[in-house]
Symmetry: C2
Subunit: 382 residues, 2 copies
């Protein structure tokens, strides 16, 4: 019944506000004309406020994965060493990207559910002073764990390494202060807390990272920050921008500014707390080994039944799309995405669907217990 | 936070599916051209399936209230008597319309919460054989009570009276069989279970009612069914149709047909049962005196606190818009609308918001009890 009204509770792509949909119905424009320049200016300054940076934020047609490449090819010379901290599947993927690009990769790897520890990072950096950059996820979407970006960045800087941060499922949802925390590259995509359809790669470089980019000899074209920056100075992009996505981003950023960036963080913190309270009240276990690092944009849960069955019943029977696990976690976890154009009410429905799907599948769950716990968390914060 | 994502749970206007929104972005067309003729044909035949009639269904730019006028001025000569059965505010309004138009009105009135009884109707018709038509609501939106249309219609026909039915908050949500039940006029609006924006009055006439319309001497122009019918035969409207609303209606009817009319009735029955179970589990009282007549499109509840406060907290604090009471019920009830583009998940959220708003306002409610009861009803029917 009304299957197309199914609630999308995966950690991206996330639901799109009607204002963003409406923005995308605007007629096409000359991407080298005055209208685009004005769009460029508004979006760029709004992104700076969101990234918490005085530096330019570049918008590429692409995806988060393109940001990984841009971060590397603009800051590292061929053959240089990057230490990639991986706490899950997206960390592993960044390792593959760096390898494909010919860089020497060191890995600092954690078990799924764990967050990276600055002490481990310091040890690795002390052992190899040739490491030029440290790369890690702000929020590991595959495990529902948030790294302590500030502490990791401080450690990396102590050893003179550049700090490359993938904040695809973090930026806009979780606190991040690019300039104050000394981050060199911060990248995200359009389809997470930015509430837009997929199709954009959004990247900011610190001043020293940009200087490195201007000097860097690594062969590159599409992801060249030098070209992006030279275009930026003229309020232009180096090649055809995804105009309609820019309109979407403009509309989304207006909503984000209307809510207030900090209020957005608070909303996501509330949703994370509700999801965790609900899951625990159902007697289920979080994948995050230490709840202090549990993500406020996606909650990963150890599945008490085959996750594919749970998700199918939740979707077909109760109208909520939950996410599965990735890679080696495919058979063991499910995830509740709660970032972007999502409210505490959506978390209630995700928990209700989880409970009803478990009950329907014969798993002994006290129907209503998780929802009740989440409602209580909301009430305490309302 | 994200106030514009507030869930609209009032008994109309109801939420609009994205497919309907998209349909309304189509370019304007010549309303006398071939494209409109094809739109007219599709919408008309689909409406016949929804009204369960072989007779034409006429679409006017207007509102449900216009249907009241159309029903009267086309079937009653000046000065003739209509018996209006009123079980709430919308019945009272139809009485006023009939009075304004100069008809002689008899009233059969019930207390709010009660449904009309065929025996009472028979008594009134027996007492006055001059009554030409009986008019009543299929579903009284103001009290959340559904009349037994079939039984009332059978009684009216027994006494030779025309049967005029306002199904504004019924059609598409609650079972109605225009031809099989012998209904003479059935009217609705676009903004209820038809899932469109307000702006249309949709009306069907039985063959005998249409014959009456062709003979009727009551002065009329806009609501003249003779003109509408003559246009209908040429797949046209007598004056400019609301083209974009027709596109919306086309998209909505496609969704209705995709779900299946009976499946839509079942969905509304489930939502009604969930709402009632939830409300009772909270210890609250339905306005409907006999639950057998409680509406599956809107649930009216005796408010345990000032309804304005309850609704304000539910809306501002918990993102759900509940409806208040109308006219003399304003200070005593609140209503949960659950018709149209609404799912059982939306009912869960309406109940959650009600519970949290009551708790927040200091009323002793066991938070989660109502939601749990509703989830159990869904599970039993899933």
């Amino acid at each position: 019944m009304l299957k197309e009204k199914s609630l999308l509770m995966i950690p991206g792509p996330t639901p799109i506000p009607p204002q963003v949909v409406a923005a995308m119905t605007q007629p096409m424009i000359n991407h080298r004309g005055e209208v685009f320049v004005s769009l460029f200016k508004e979006v760029s300054t709004s992104l700076q406020r969101l990234f918490r940076t005085e530096q330019p934020v570049y918008v590429f047609p692409g995806a988060g994965s393109g940001g990984w490449e841009a971060a590397l090819v603009n800051t590292l010379e061929p053959g240089e060493i990057v230490l990639i901290v991986t706490i899950g599947d997206f960390g592993d993927r960044w390792v593959k990207v760096a390898g494909a690009l010919g860089y020497t990769v060191e890995r600092l790897t954690y078990e799924p559910g764990q967050a990276a520890q600055p002490a481990d990072l310091a040890e690795r950096l002390a052992a190899n002073p040739a490491i030029r950059a440290v790369a890690f996820q702000h929020n590991e979407t595959s495990t529902g764990v948030t790294n302590d970006v500030r502490a990791l960045a401080a450690t990396a800087r102590e050893y003179g390494a550049l700090v490359l941060v993938d904040s695809v499922s973090g930026l806009g949802a979780l606190p991040l202060e690019m300039d104050a925390w000394g981050l060199d590259v911060v990248l995200t995509g359009a389809q997470k807390a930015l509430m837009c359809p997929p199709g954009l790669s959004v990247i900011a470089f610190s001043e020293r990272a940009r200087e490195r980019a201007f000097a860097c000899k690594t062969p590159r074209f599409f992801w060249d920050i030098k070209a992006a920056h030279n275009g930026y100075l003229k309020h232009q992009t180096p090649y055809t921008p995804a105009v309609t996505e820019w309109y979407a981003l403009q509309a989304a950023l207006r909503l984000i500014e209307a809510e207030g960036v900090e209020n957005g963080w608070k909303r996501h913190a509330l949703m994370g707390a509700m999801a965790r309270a609900g899951v625990k009240a159902m007697g289920l276990q979080l994948l995050a080994t230490d709840e202090a690092y549990a993500s406020n944009s996606v909650t990963a849960v150890v599945a008490p039944i085959e996750p594919k069955i749970l998700r199918k019943v939740a979707r077909d029977g109760f109208g909520v799309q939950l996410a599965g696990g990735q890679a080696k976690l495919e058979a063991t976890i499910f995830r509740i995405g709660h970032l972007g154009y999502v409210t505490p009410n959506d978390v209630i429905l995700a928990l209700a669907a989880t409970e009803m799907a478990l009950a329907k599948a014969g798993y002994p769950v006290e129907v209503g217990a998780g929802v009740k716990a989440a409602m209580q968390v909301w009430l305490e914060n309302a």
